[in-house]
């Protein structure tokens, strides 16, 4: 019996660029901290170890492995809540609600349990990057959809204004908006917005 697998795409990019990653290990210099630093070095990342946690991060850090323990001062970790934050992997010694809650608030994308073993570090790092990348893509997509939805609503509003005020059908109303957009070299959405705004001003005037 032989089996033929579909010819697979070659190595995923998330694995290919592991060696260019700048990784910060914010962990006390104990057995776990050393195991983590050594394993990340074996994987080939550019590793820097620091403790206590830094209030601001050095330039260009891609990922942070952070010892999340009782007594960790969240106020020193403002960097974890910014827009363009590095990927965070939490290294935990407890999994009680206090610590898990802290892990969630910090926005960690993966967790490594203590005692840290070399096995699992690579998978945690790659998975955390994948989750972060997917989230970023998804929120970009959502923003785009929201903008598109808004634009559709504006055009619909403008159309109904034109239909009402000029007594024309929907197709003609849209044609009118489109012609205006063409001749003024603006988008249909911008024209629609002008119509809606103008109508609001007029409506306000009438109601006085």
């Amino acid at each position: 019996m032989t089996s033929q697998r579909p010819i697979r795409a070659s190595t995923p990019a998330l694995l290919k660029d592991l060696r260019s990653l700048k990784v910060l290990v914010m962990h006390p210099d104990d057995g776990d901290g050393r195991e983590l630093t050594q394993q990340l070095t074996r994987i080939g990342c550019q590793v820097q170890a620091v403790w206590p946690p830094l209030p601001t991060l050095p330039e260009g850090v891609d990922a942070v492995f952070l010892a999340v323990r009782p007594g960790l001062d969240e106020s020193t970790l403002a960097w974890a809540r910014g827009e363009e934050t590095p990927i965070l992997v939490a290294v935990v010694t407890y999994e009680n609600p206090t610590i898990v809650g802290l892990v969630l608030r910090l926005g960690a994308k993966a967790v490594l349990p203590s005692p840290v073993r070399s096995f699992g570090v690579l998978s945690a790092l790659v998975l955390a990057r994948k989750v972060a990348e997917d989230l970023k893509e998804t929120s970009k997509h959502v923003n785009k959809l929201q903008a598109k939805l808004l634009s559709h609503r504006r055009i619909a509003d403008a159309k109904s204004i034109l239909m009402r005020t000029r007594g024309i059908g929907e197709t003609e109303a849209y044609e009118l908006i489109r012609e205006q957009a063409m001749s003024r070299r603006r988008t249909t959405e911008e024209i629609a917005l002008s119509i809606v705004n103008a109508n609001e001003i007029l409506t306000t005037g009438w109601s006085k």
């Binding site: 089996s3 070659s10 070095t41 096995f119």
Partner: protein, 383 residues
């Protein structure tokens, strides 16, 4: 009072089952080294006593026997394992009891354990060199055949990444066969090869199925001069099984071949033949099994203990004049600095070495992206 108690060590190689050919050679390589250690006065006067168990090429039995060696025989050190599945079956047991495993087999990389020493080649010590050689001499249109398990999948990923860096490269097929595959299983694949006409075939078939693949190739009437099989695992032992005439002209990348022209190698082969006759065929896994025992023994002579906490720092600084050259452990990743070589099977059932590294190449078991033309991949052409 000097301690004269014997030192029991565990030996876990398959003497039966699908990977028994290499398993038996690793067992005998281990036993030869243990006898040499004892003839030289043992470990500071203490005799090394091997406890050999046969895991029958079965991962479940590997787990059971590793436990037995540790819990019933009381060993602190085990020499053993061939396929990755057997190593993965033993590692949890070794780690649980904090013992030490010496693993003398090439494998796919991406592993590190504080309880392991890896003495076979990592992919940066055999795959890169093979890809470079084969694509330069034959072309980059490749056809992949492997046994159906993790080592072939990962080796094929690496080989594909490497080969696809060349212009005109193509992957024309990728097939996986059962470990117990026979010549008939390779028939349809040979038909496909006839249609596809690759520049070379990359084989990661292991165990006793290797001979069937090469025989099926010969049956199909293909010519190794124009479309050879390139392998990381086809050693003198597999060549012996299939016959020199079937293997002739095909290529293998490995740190050790019997044909290495050195006194250390010739003397070791002569001692082996005197002790074990010529039934068992020395190969790269045999050599790693042999030299790792000497590295262990030298480390234990320095510290006087085989407890991992005391022994490991001494193991990590070991160097040894192995048959392949002077090897040493890389303390950062517990793998071994080795000498990549490319051999072409000849009519005597041996390999004519056509490329070899002058300096030992450091192991890099976590290398994801390989590039052709790395300095580590460059091998010196032999005159």
């Amino acid at each position: 009072m000097a301690n004269v108690d014997p030192v029991k060590v565990g030996v876990l190689f398959s003497e039966t089952g699908t990977t028994s050919t290499i398993g038996l050679s690793q067992l005998k390589g281990t036993l030869l080294a243990i006898e040499e250690v004892n003839e030289a006065g043992g470990i500071n006067g203490r005799e090394l006593v091997p406890v050999c168990l046969d895991p029958q090429s079965n991962p479940l039995v590997y787990t059971q026997l590793a436990s037995r060696l540790i819990l019933e025989e009381g060993v602190n050190v085990i020499f053993g394992c061939y396929m990755s599945s057997s190593r993965k079956a033993v590692v949890p047991v070794i780690e649980k009891w904090n013992k030490l495993l010496f693993y003398p087999t090439l494998y796919e990389g991406f592993e590190f354990s504080n309880n392991l020493i890896y003495t076979g080649a990592a992919p940066n010590q055999n795959s890169v060199q093979l890809a470079e050689f084969m694509t330069n001499h034959f072309g980059a249109r490749i056809f992949l055949i492997g046994s159906d398990y993790i080592y072939p999948y990962e080796s094929n990923r690496i080989m594909t990444d490497l080969v696809l860096q060349k212009s005109g490269a193509a992957k024309l097929g990728e097939h996986y066969v059962e470990l117990a595959a026979t010549e008939a299983d390779f028939g349809p694949i040979m038909k496909e090869i006839r249609d596809q006409r690759p520049d070379f075939i990359f084989s990661t078939v292991v165990g006793n199925a290797t001979a069937s693949l090469y025989r099926a190739y010969a049956e199909a009437g293909f010519d190794p001069k124009t479309m050879p099989i390139a392998s990381l695992t086809t050693s003198e032992a597999e060549v012996h099984q299939m016959g020199a005439d079937v293997a002739e002209g095909h290529f293998t990348s490995a740190p050790y071949f019997q044909s290495i022209d050195s006194d250390a190698n010739r003397r070791c082969l002569a001692r082996f033949q005197r002790r074990f006759g010529s039934d068992c065929v020395p190969n790269q896994c045999w050599e790693a099994a042999y030299f790792q025992v000497h590295m262990f023994a030298n480390a234990m002579r320095e510290v006087g203990s085989d407890e991992i906490a005391e022994l490991m720092p001494h193991v990590l600084t070991q160097e040894f004049n192995a048959p392949q050259g002077r090897v040493r452990i890389d303390p950062r990743n517990h793998h071994t600095c080795l000498y990549p070589r490319i051999g072409r099977a000849n009519s005597e059932g041996q390999f004519t070495i056509v490329r070899e590294a002058k300096r030992a190449v450091h192991p890099d078991p976590y290398l994801v992206t390989y590039s052709l033309g790395d300095w580590t991949a460059e091998l010196d052409m032999l005159p």
